[in-house]
């Protein structure tokens, strides 16, 4: 159902928006609970932090950042079309423009998050 209906860029934009939104929602639940532990049980919070700071945790944060960035940029595209209906005929151009911005922000961002893992792996 997610990918077979109608097809095309608009359909993909919608499917990615939905999948990224659900992923962010799930992380929000985890994140509010873990921050609650900063006051409720600081030791337990620090144990969870060790997982976030591990190599697998960092890969998870890169994926979270990708979901967040995509959802934010595509949300902006939706808003532009809602506020300015004439832009509907340029919705494909807007979708490709959002990917240009995505790549420009995502690649340096991912490198920064992964640097503590990459540096020893590359012998730097």
């Amino acid at each position: 159902m997610l990918f077979r209906y109608r097809g095309g860029e608009g359909m993909l934009a919608w499917a990615f928006h939905r999948v990224s939104g659900i992923a962010i929602w799930a992380f929000i639940i985890l994140h509010v609970v873990d921050i609650y532990l900063v006051g409720g049980d600081p030791k337990a919070y620090d144990d969870i932090l060790a997982i976030y700071a591990s190599p697998i945790g960092r890969v998870g944060e890169v994926l979270l950042g990708a979901a967040l960035l995509y959802h934010a940029l595509n949300g902006l595209r939706i808003l532009i079309i809602d506020l300015w209906p004439a832009m509907t005929k340029h919705h494909r151009a807007l979708w490709y423009a959002s990917w240009v911005i995505f790549v420009a922000v995502f690649i340096p961002g991912a490198l920064i998050i992964l640097m503590p893992v990459l540096r020893p792996a590359l012998g730097l």
Binding site: I35, K43, I81, D82
Partner: protein, 133 residues
């Protein structure tokens, strides 16, 4: 009914007035707020600092030692809980056909959201500032 125009945009704006129209606008207003708040929060946590050093003590001593950053994170919390749980409401309404199952799922969703509002607000408002009173 909740519906999507998948070719171009998000949900079509509900006709008339009332709660659904309010929800439609509220998703867009909170979305714009989150574009700034959530991306800034992510950049601070992951680009300005590194996750490694962000222990419970660091949060109490550094990150939340000013009202500004507590207010920032609390505003983000309110916006994101509203936006994400209202979004999940749309998702559930799209896939759940049985009115009874949908009612149960929406109730669980609403109770979960309220619970997170309470515990999130509690920690951001009550975590002691070191050296205060």
């Amino acid at each position: 009914m909740i519906s999507i125009d998948p070719r171009t945009r998000g949900r079509a704006r509900p006709r008339g007035s009332g709660l659904e129209l309010f929800a439609w606008y509220a998703m867009r207003v909170t979305g714009v707020a989150l574009f700034v708040l959530a991306l800034a929060h992510f950049a601070i946590i992951h680009f300005v600092f590194d996750v490694e050093g962000q222990t419970a003590e660091w949060i109490a001593q550094q990150r939340w030692n000013q009202l500004l950053w507590r207010a920032f994170d609390w505003a983000l919390l309110m916006m994101v809980l509203f936006h994400s749980f209202m979004g999940m409401r749309t998702v559930l309404a799209d896939y759940m056909r049985s009115p009874r199952a949908r009612m149960i799922a929406l109730t669980v969703l609403g109770v979960t959201a309220l619970f997170l509002v309470v515990i999130g607000t509690a920690v951001v408002m009550t975590l002691p500032v070191p050296g205060a009173g």
